[in-house]
């Protein structure tokens, strides 16, 4: 029961879904199973949300380090949940859109969620700089190639790239940085992307087979008898 049933479920579900692609009357099966997945995922929210609350409540009650901030999380969570699940502060009735204009939910989204998220996203501008500084060093042949490719593309994206190589005559125009940048994007870059994708395709196929056939079963508890 503990091990056998799950293995059978995985096998049956996996196999049926693979074959359903080739059988027109079953072609909507994948769509429906994706929907099933979403529904199960919502049930899982109970576990996730419960865990989040438990962690912060424990922190609070035991006065662990930074426990003050846990209050912020808990208050924010409950307030947003009240605005979301019960549509408190929503001008419309139960059928109103969750993100209706003027609802508290939408207001919080716009004045807290958006600035927080987009600033976090914008930190990337800083991190690309620090990562390039550290990583793009000519340590060996591979690193040098990485460095050169990145540098040429960076240069090609600024007026500087046009400027430094504009003297090159038309019959050698591939040596002009902007053209070279485009050529790299279109040719070796494309080749690399494709090789990676072909590998990924095969990796997924083999991985899926291992899971369906029950050879890979770590998520059910290794090879020991439970």
């Amino acid at each position: 029961m503990k091990r056998g049933v799950p293995l059978i479920i995985t096998f049956v579900v996996g196999t049926v879904l693979i074959f359903s692609v080739f059988i027109p009357p079953m072609e909507n099966l994948g769509e429906n199973f994706t929907l099933f997945f979403d529904i199960i995922a919502v049930f899982a929210f109970f576990l996730g949300g419960g865990n989040l609350l438990r962690v912060h409540l424990t922190k609070l009650s035991r006065r662990k380090r930074d426990w003050e901030y846990s209050i912020v999380t808990i208050v924010g969570f409950f307030f947003m949940l009240a605005c979301g699940l019960f549509k408190i502060g929503n001008p419309g009735d139960i059928s109103a859109s969750l993100t209706a204009e003027g609802s508290w939910f939408q207001t919080i989204y716009e004045s807290m969620f958006v600035p927080l998220g987009s600033t976090m996203y914008a930190l990337l501008a800083f991190f690309v700089a620090s990562a390039s500084y550290r990583a793009f060093r000519a340590k060996n042949r591979e690193a040098t190639i990485l460095l050169l490719a990145a540098f040429i593309i960076l240069l090609g994206r600024t007026p500087l790239g046009t400027f430094v190589t504009s003297w090159i005559p038309d019959s050698f125009s591939i040596m002009q940085i902007p053209n070279l940048a485009i050529w790299i994007m279109n040719s070796p870059n494309l080749a690399g992307q494709r090789a990676i994708m072909i590998g990924i395709g095969l990796g997924v196929v083999s991985m899926s087979l291992r899971l369906i056939l029950g050879i890979e079963r770590t998520y059910l508890g290794g090879d020991d008898k439970l």
């Binding site: 620090s130 500084y133 000519a138 540098f151 994206r157 007026p159 500087l160 400027f163 038309d170 485009i182």
Partner: protein
């Protein structure tokens, strides 16, 4: 910055510009010297440089001279070389999401065509393209060309469903697909359409967009079969896929905000009257260029450090 900015503010902007550039250049130089002495740069210093190089050009609008690359220059020269009164079609094949990158191009093309006295036919393959045309109306035509008359100097025929099907029809007959313009004026009464029967009678077609339907469809369904010159302005992500069409099937191409900036700067060089016109792409390029340069400088500093380090190791 508009025309009414007081002189003091302008002076402040100039001072700010100089100070920030000196700060960045001096700082980088200092870091380079430190790198030769084998001192690593702390990441927070890098962060500071990035912040300044992005914030300063926003605060003190810094416009870098963009020299148009041949592929952009080709479009500019084509519009420039057409005699006044030539018929140019601008197709707005984009939606609001793509607008930040390509709206500046659409505006710049309109500006250029109108100042040269070309007649413009506006249309769109995206339903939402009509709304974007309104932006051009507000940004360019009303404030800068109040004398141009709808129907005589330009006409908007709007959107028709059918994607490449639409192109398939207008390659041979405009009127069949667009019996009237958006205001309901019959085709034959529109001054601009005098002498235009199909796309083949146009002197230039420019598609602005980045999705589907877009420039690829224009090339395959109109440019190639009709032998009409076609140019385009597209979002940066799709630009690399279009280069194979240049220069045979596409006479030129503007890729992303950089392409737009090059066009804007070319326009300002040739037409001083646009000196005070908004140049959104050029303004956007300020922070971009500076940040790119700073990042490249840090790559160089990193390599100097590395080489110095290896040299020292070799000595020991």
């Amino acid at each position: 910055m508009n025309a009414f900015t007081p002189p003091l503010a302008l002076a402040l902007v100039d001072i700010g510009r100089v100070i920030s550039l000196v700060l960045i250049a001096g700082g980088l130089l200092w870091l380079l010297i430190r790198a030769i002495k084998l001192k690593e740069v702390e990441r927070r210093v890098i962060f500071l440089f990035i912040f300044i190089s992005v914030a300063a050009p926003i605060l003190f609008p810094t416009v870098f001279k963009e020299k148009a690359t041949p592929i952009v220059k080709a479009v500019f020269d084509k519009i420039e070389s057409l005699p006044p009164g030539s018929k140019v079609l601008l197709s707005y094949d984009f939606d609001p999401a793509m607008a930040p990158e390509v709206q500046p191009m659409a505006d710049a093309f309109s500006r250029h065509c109108l100042v040269k006295g070309h007649k413009i036919v506006y249309m769109c393959l995206f339903a939402t393209g009509q709304g974007q045309f309104t932006r051009t109306m507000e940004n360019v035509i009303r404030p800068e060309f109040p004398e141009k008359i709808d129907g005589v100097d330009y006409v908007n025929i709007g959107y028709k469903a059918g994607n490449e099907g639409v192109l398939n029809v207008i390659i041979s007959d405009f009127k069949k697909m667009f019996p009237t313009d958006v205001n309901g004026v019959p085709y034959d009464s529109v001054e601009v359409f005098k002498g235009i029967r199909s796309c083949k009678d146009l002197d230039l077609i420019i598609s602005i967009g980045g999705g589907r339907p877009g420039i690829k469809e224009w090339v395959l369904f109109v440019g190639d079969p009709g032998d009409v010159p076609i140019a385009t302005g597209v979002a940066a992500v799709v630009a690399p896929q279009l280069y194979p069409y240049y220069p045979k099937q596409l006479l030129g191409l503007l890729g992303g905000i950089k392409g737009a900036a090059e066009y804007e700067s070319e326009l300002v060089i040739h037409y001083p009257r646009f000196k005070d016109s908004p140049t959104p792409a050029l303004l956007m390029m300020g922070p971009q260029t500076l940040a790119h340069i700073v990042i490249m400088a840090f790559i160089i500093i990193g390599n100097v450090l590395f080489i110095q380090g290896r040299r020292k190791e070799g000595k020991q």
